[in-house]
Amino acid sequence: MRPGRLIAKAVLALAGFLAVFPLVWTALNALKNNVDIITRVPKVIFTPTLANISYILGRDSVLTGLYNSAVACGAAVLIGIVLGLPAAYAVARYPNRFAGDIQFFVLSLRFLPPVAVAIPLMVIWLQIGLYDTLPALIVTYSLLTISVIMWLAIPAFQGVPKEIEEAAFVDGYGAYSVFWRIALPVAARSLIGAIAFSFVLVWNEFLIALMLSSSNAKTLPIVASELSQQGMNVPWGILNASVVLLSLPPLLFLGVLSGFLNSVFRQKKS
């Protein structure tokens, strides 16, 4: 092997290690007793315990947070898909003179620091009387998912060759059929990425959730952060277990999506 390739591989391996190691360490720590975590020499071999995980899963606040997160993020992503994808397709394929402004406006929500968006929203929800409820969180998160999905889906739809859609028109299909049967499946790969990204974004969202919930609608990131607010006596094992719990849904979501992708796009071997 040439030295250049060797160095490249070494750099790659190092980067991979840097990316994966903290995750592995977190997962390991979730299975350790506190004494095994707070050691001068990090322990790789230890007696695993499920105490942290069962503690986490046994707490109502965590389960409620998990439920709130799942409902708020799931619903927001669904709304983002239902409203964002057709909107993106319209902007991409049937642009009018406002198309550029629409694109800019949609993204402008993401330019602002979240606090700037969260405070007015908090006031609005307080006035309407929906503060600290899931509907408020769902609507707020939908703003994020719609904007992200639209922003990422517009180039995805623009990437679908126009002639393919025209061929479908010539084959007798109308604009809506072309969207369903041609544009969506052809752009699916990039669209799935956009959807997954929007899900991860709202799942990990912290600040807006913090400002829009006080007790009932707390999402998992809020609950997890509360576990660390116990001064010097940080229950490291429990914290790690909650982090694992927090990381699983996006991973599952991506796994399901990519599995779905593979089943749709697997090349048929004859």
Partner: protein, 364 residues
């Protein structure tokens, strides 16, 4: 009844007019080729026939029915695109069947028809594959199959061969010609390649800047170009053009230009004393001169391009580059003096100002 009629058709994008007052009638079973340089509006015109572009003015009818406001699917047309435009997420079978599914044709009949069409085009082994697994030529054949299966009134081809390599292009050209012979479907075919136009067309519609320059059979367009543009566009190697001044001389005419004086009987042309004209002559019509009689163009061979059977000899005459396509065995040495003669029947004369042909209309 004409299959397609365009009357006073216009197309404008905002202030830019792409097609201006175009009138054209295409007969049933005819193979018509729209030919022209890029940007002449030929593809736009085809897309207007297909219903993929709005018609800004005038009327288009297909099969006796005005189609201006009909959707592409309701016009009884099928189209083959330059980049094949196959549906990438569907198998070849589904690609071909997609249009029939829309027409709610029963599945058993779809299967039968897809199999029949793919047998004709040799696509049977690929029906289960995806488009990306096929070569360019195979993909274009799928696109043709997709068009054929709908048994349309009109086939529209938009530069279908320009993405293929030269050898495959020749092959597919022959296949398209055969297909038209057996199906006899009215066909409109857009290309910028004059070889395709000449070999495929019953009639060629030569366009420039959205205006029809000439309509005619390949032979007519080649032998009787109606103006300078047509004369220069059709024919490889290009026609030689010599600017000249006409003078009357007894019962004939003399043309003075490019350092020579040529004498003509001029009975085929409208000529007047003092006219400024452009004389056109195709390189194959220049013959190596043996004697001293007749009209002679002479000079020094500057460039010799060997083509195999023939050689293209370019020589300067009175500051003008002239090319002659001569049999290879008559090929002169580089820088040798050359003399070429021509028959009066083989020349074309055009008005230097308007570019129009000065040929008298043939009374038939």
């Amino acid at each position: 009844m004409s299959a397609i009629v365009c009357s006073h058709v216009d197309k404008a994008y905002g202030a830019t007019t792409v097609i201006r007052d175009l009138n054209l009638a295409i007969e049933e079973h005819e193979f018509v080729v729209f030919l022209g340089p890029s940007g002449c509006g030929k593809s736009t015109l085809l897309r207007m026939l297909a219903g993929l572009e709005d018609i800004s003015g005038g009327e288009v009818s297909i099969g006796g029915k005005v189609v201006n406001d009909l959707d592409p699917g309701d016009r009884g047309i099928a189209m083959v695109f330059q980049n094949y435009a196959l549906y990438p997420h569907m198998t070849i079978f589904d690609n071909i069947a997609f249009g029939l599914k829309r027409q709610k044709v029963p599945a058993a009949e779809i299967k039968k028809r897809v199999e029949a069409v793919s047998r004709t085009l040799g696509l049977e082994p690929y029906l289960g594959r995806k488009p990306t697994e096929l070569s360019g030529g195979q993909q274009q054949r799928v696109a043709i199959a997709r068009a054929m299966i709908k048994t349309p009134k009109v086939f529209l081809f938009d530069e279908p061969l320009s993405n293929l390599d030269a050898k495959l292009r020749n092959h597919m050209r022959v296949e398209i010609a055969r297909l038209h012979q057996s199906l006899k479907t009215t066909t409109v075919y857009v290309t910028h390649d004059q070889l395709e136009a000449m070999t495929l067309a019953d009639r060629i519609v030569l366009l420039k800047d959205g205006v029809i320059e000439q309509i005619g059979s390949p032979a007519e367009i080649y032998r009787r170009p109606g103006n300078l543009f047509v004369a220069g566009f059709i024919g490889t190697p290009n026609m030689n053009f010599i600017e000249a001044t006409v003078a009357g001389k007894g019962d004939g005419w003399t043309l003075t230009g490019a350092g020579t004086v040529l004498s003509l009987e001029g009975i085929d042309f409208h000529l007047q004393h003092g006219d400024r004209v452009v004389l056109g002559i195709r390189p194959p019509d220049l013959k190596t001169a043996n004697g001293g009689a007749g009209n002679i163009l002479q000079g020094t061979a500057d460039l010799i391009e060997f083509h195999g059977n023939d050689a293209l000899v370019t020589f300067g005459s009175g500051g003008k580059e002239i090319s002659a396509l001569v049999p290879a065995r008559e090929c002169p040495e580089l820088r040798a003096p050359v003399r070429y003669s021509f028959e009066e029947e083989s020349i074309h004369l055009f008005d230097a100002e308007t570019g129009k042909s000065l040929r008298r209309q043939q009374v038939s």
